[in-house]
Amino acid sequence: MLQAQQLNVSLGRQAILHDVSFEARPGEVTALLGPNGSGKTTLLKTLAGLLPARGQLQWQGQALPLQRGGQLHAACGYLPQDCSTRSRLSVTEAVLLGQLGALGWRVSAEQRAAVQQQLAALGLGALAERRLCELSGGQRQMVFLAQVLLRQPGLLLLDEPISALDLQHQVQVMRSVREQTQARQLTCVVVLHDLNAALAYADRVLLLQHGRLLAAGPARDILTPTLLAPVFGVAIHQAHTASGHSVLCPHGG
């Protein structure tokens, strides 16, 4: 379990996060929602250990260092938002880097097999020999997700993993994330902009506004027009499909 208590983050003189406290549980997908500039990416980087912060962070009951930043916590798999790169590495080589800490001069057969399995699990087998710089943004995002999953992290932190993807890949990625989270009992925190994706795939939701945690709880309790409308500044309508699923859409949309 991940427990954050009174996290405060400043970049330069500007305070970005104020007293953020929450819990994220193993086997659950926790969606981090909020408007642009609300501090979602900053919070995710802080949880990963990349930004210095004040407060307390505990993973599996052990305190994680927060003061220095710049070094990923060992238990973390972190997928950054920006997937641009000019690298000419092949997809296989790039995914192999997910095992960076264990790689020696020779790459073992087991390490290569693990890459193959991860690529196959995300349906990327056909891209194995393509160069990263030749892929679309969405394809690259999928490759980097495979790279992160190959680290076999206990704590999975994903920053807008589906923003650049088409609908088919959005579903594929979020299903994979959910399946992996449940199968490996990962603690997953994922930044999303798509409210309906959060509704469909998240167990719990953290709602951020102006660097403060406005609400936290089960997805169906938080993803309501009453809570969301003032945060996003638009009227939101909740509809129910014939199959019983909820759908959120802006009024008039």
Binding site: L72, L79, P80, S87, L89, E93
Partner: protein
């Protein structure tokens, strides 16, 4: 989908890449032999081999090979390797294909240090043969530390290191111009000759020192090969893979200052090798730094060795400074690289 049916490109590419490294090493050996054989008196290759193996060469050839030509030819190899390596490391950690110790002021810093000693001359307690390399070493370190300091002060982003390096280049060039303006005619001549870069300052003790620096730096760099490969993706991506990017960048640039100091201290400033060698290596070997690091060293060594050879062939008997040859060959080659590169590759 069957996972077993997928190809293994990472494994498949290793064998041809290792073959390419071996081929480059073979070419380097040939270039070394030709370099030793070439000079005012051309020696047959078998005479060179006989002298090198100590199996019955004429005494005259023996002296020419061991005392005169071999130190110069080996210095070309070692300095080229040091420049190729330092260029690759700078381009990798700063994410800039134009980065090298020559373009970011580290060589200029070393050159300024040497020129300072030449101008101060007899006022120093050390002989010039010791003081010049020492000052070059020292100022290469100062320049690299300044690049690091500026970059760190601006938040550790790659661009800030590059901009800091360019500012330093102009600063050291201005200081160098000032020294040349103030220098006596004799000192001015010595500075100009030193700055051209010349392999003829080579000697066995100097070779030993450059070799020792290389022997220290290459394993240290190879230890970080996977981290450099990850850094090639982007700073943030490398961080997400567990690389402490700031610490890696500091470590890498400290090694660059050592390599550049060793190279510039004994042969003067030599441009373009550190810029071009990494690009050739990357073109031939890809971006896996396990192969790229030795590849850039071999390419740098080969480039400087061939430049030395070319200088001898263009003007037999005259000592054309190697820096002039590398610039003459390097500029068109570099332009060719730019013209052939795909949009966005820079």
């Amino acid at each position: 989908m069957s996972t077993l049916s997928l190809p293994l490109p990472a494994a498949r590419r290793l064998a041809p890449a290792l073959a390419m490294l071996l081929l480059m090493a073979g070419m380097l050996l040939l270039s070394l032999l030709l370099d030793v054989a070439s000079g005012p008196s051309m020696l047959p290759l078998r005479e060179v081999v006989a002298a090198l193996s100590g199996s019955g060469a004429e005494r005259g050839s023996d002296v020419i090979v061991w005392q005169i030509r071999l130190p110069v030819a080996l210095m070309a190899l070692l300095v080229g390797a040091a420049l190729g390596l330092s260029g690759l490391v700078m381009q990798t950690v700063l994410h800039n294909p134009l980065a090298s110790s020559y373009t970011l002021g580290v060589s200029a810093g070393a050159g300024f240090g040497a020129a300072l000693v030449i101008v101060l001359g007899s006022a120093l307690p050390l002989p010039e043969t010791v003081a010049i390399p020492l000052a070059a070493f020292l100022f290469a370190g100062i320049a690299c530390s300044a690049v690091l300091g500026i970059g760190r002060a601006k938040g550790g982003q790659a661009d800030s290191y590059v901009l800091g390096g360019i500012a330093l280049l102009f600063l050291f060039q201005a200081l160098l111009s000032l020294l040349q303006y103030l220098a006596s005619p004799e000192a001015l001549q010595a500075i100009v000759f030193w700055l051209f870069g010349s392999l003829y300052k080579a000697s066995w003790p100097k070779l030993g020192l450059v070799a020792a620096v290389l022997a220290l730096c290459l394993p240290l760099l190879l230890r970080d090969a996977w981290r450099f490969t990850a850094l090639g993706l982007s700073d943030e991506r490398a961080q997400s893979l567990g690389v402490n990017v700031t610490a890696l960048r500091w470590r890498a640039l400290a090694i660059v200052s050592l390599l550049t100091g060793a190279a510039v201290a004994f042969v003067g400033t030599i441009g373009f090798v550190g810029l071009i060698a990494p690009h050739i290596a990357r073109f031939l070997l890809g971006e896996d730094q396990r192969l790229l690091l030795p590849g850039a060293a071999l390419c740098g060594a080969l480039l400087l060795s061939l430049s030395s050879l070319l200088g001898k062939w263009l003007s037999p008997g005259a000592l054309i400074p190697i820096g002039i040859v590398t610039a003459a060959v390097g500029v068109p080659f570099f332009l060719l690289l730019v013209m052939r590169s795909k949009p966005g590759a820079w």
